[in-house]
Amino acid sequence: MSDFKEISYNGLWKQNPGVVQLLGLCPTLAVTTSVVNGVSLGLATALVMAASNGAVSPVRKFVPDEIRVPVFILVIAALVTVIDLTIHGFAEPLHKVLGIFIPLIVVNCIVLARVESFAAKNPPAPAMWDGFMMGLGLTIVLAILGGMREVIGKGTLFSGLDLALGPQFKQFVVTIIPDYHGFLLAILPPGAFLGLACLIAFRNWAEQRKSNPAPQAGGALKPAH
C-alpha cells in the first residue's frame, strides 16, 4: 500500500478518531443533533487539521523540543480563530448554531495529537493529507451519528441545510417520518452516547468479522474427537 493510501485508510477506518481513538468526544457528542451540524463541525475540524499539520510540518526542524507544544498550540489556535472569524462573517446563522464549538476545536485533542504524532515527524504533503483524512474520518462519524439522532429524534434529515448554504437549499430538507412528534432522548446528550456506542460496536463487529471470517456452514458442527 502506498503512503497516501495507508494514511487515508488509517484516518477513515483503522485509526478513526471518532470511533477508534475516541478523541474529541466533546464536540462529537454535543453538536451531532443533526447531519448538517455534524458535517459542518467535522469539515471545520478537518480544515483546521490539514492546515495545522501543513503549517507545522515544514518548520518541524526549527522548533526546539522544549517549546514544541506552545508552538503547536499557537499555530492551531491561530488557524481556528481564522476559521471562526470566516464562518462568523460569511455564514452567520451557522455560526449561531455551532457557536462555542468552533473555538473549542483548539482544545480538541485530535488536532494536537496528529500534529504531535504525525506532522512533527513527516514531510508537509503526507502531513496535510493525514490531517485532512483524520478530519474526514471524524466528519463521517459525526455525519452518521448526526443522521441517526436526527431521524430518530426529529424524523427529518438535513434540517438546517438552509442555515449552512443559504435559503434556497431549504427544499432539500427531507421529512423521513411525517407528523412525527419527536423522540427527545435521541436529541439530548444521552442519545449521543447511545448512538456513539452503537457506531463503535458496529465498527468492532466489522473489524472482528474481517480478521476471523465466519466459519463455513457446517464447520461449527464438526464433531470433536
Partner: protein, 206 residues
C-alpha cells in the same frame, strides 16, 4: 557549558517570539478583512428578527440606527443599560422594540424582544435566548411553536391586570401541560414590559 545553555535558551525564546509574531500578524490581518462582513451579518440577523415583530409597512426609518439607551429598570429585568430601537412612520412614533429579561424561567434567564406599538398594543414578541428544557419548555421559541404569537395585539387595556397570568393561575394565557414555569415567566415579563412602556412612553419616543 553555561555559554551553551545561554545560547540554547536564546534560540528557543527567539523561535517562540518569531512564531508568535507571524501568527499574530496573520490573525490581525484576518480580523481586519472579516470585520466588515461580521458587522454586516450581525446587523442583518438583528434586522431579520426586527422584521418578524415590526412589519416593514409599520415604519419608514432605519430601525437599527434609531436606537436609544435606556437605564436599567426592574420592570425590564435588566441590571445594565439596554438598547431600545424605535420605529417611526412619517415622523410619528409607530413602535418601540424593548429587550427584556425574565429571570424566573425554569433554567436560567430568558431574553425577550418585545415590540410595542405607540398605542400600547403588542406588535410581536420573540425569544432571543433561553435555556428551557428541549421538548418541554422550548415551545416559547418561534422555531418550535406558535405559542409566542398569543401576545400579538395584547395590551394592558385588552386584558385586565388580574388576567395577565397563565390559565393555571387564573389568567387568560394558554400554556402547554408539563411546563408551566416557562410560560409563567414569559407572561410576567411581557406584562411588566407593557407597564414599563405605559410609564415611560414620553421618554421612549422623545
Amino acid at each position: 557549558m553555561s555559554e551553551r545553555i545561554f545560547q540554547h535558551t536564546r534560540k528557543t525564546a527567539l523561535t517562540l517570539i518569531a512564531f508568535a509574531f507571524v501568527f499574530t500578524t496573520l490573525l490581525a490581518y484576518v480580523f481586519q478583512i472579516t470585520k466588515a462582513p461580521i458587522a454586516k451579518a450581525e446587523a442583518e440577523a438583528r434586522l431579520a428578527l426586527f422584521r418578524q415583530i415590526v412589519p416593514e409597512s409599520m415604519h419608514d426609518n432605519d430601525l437599527l440606527k434609531d436606537s436609544i439607551t435606556i437605564a436599567p429598570n426592574d420592570l425590564l429585568g435588566n441590571k445594565q443599560a439596554s438598547i431600545a430601537n424605535r420605529a417611526y412612520l412619517n415622523d410619528r412614533p409607530a413602535a418601540v422594540i424593548l429587550e427584556v429579561i425574565a429571570h424566573d424561567g425554569y433554567s436560567g434567564d430568558i431574553k425577550l424582544l418585545i415590540a410595542i406599538r405607540a398605542d400600547g398594543t403588542i406588535s410581536g414578541v420573540r425569544v432571543l435566548t433561553h435555556k428551557e428544557t428541549p421538548g418541554l419548555g422550548d415551545y416559547i421559541d418561534i422555531a418550535k411553536g406558535n405559542w409566542i404569537k398569543l401576545f400579538d395585539n395584547e395590551s394592558l387595556t385588552k386584558t385586565s391586570e388580574q388576567n395577565w397570568k397563565v390559565k393555571k393561575d387564573g389568567g387568560l394565557f394558554d400554556y402547554m401541560a408539563g411546563a408551566t414555569i416557562t410560560p409563567r415567566a414569559v407572561v410576567k415579563a411581557v406584562h411588566q414590559a407593557l407597564q414599563y412602556f405605559e410609564a415611560n412612553k414620553q421618554a421612549l419616543f422623545a
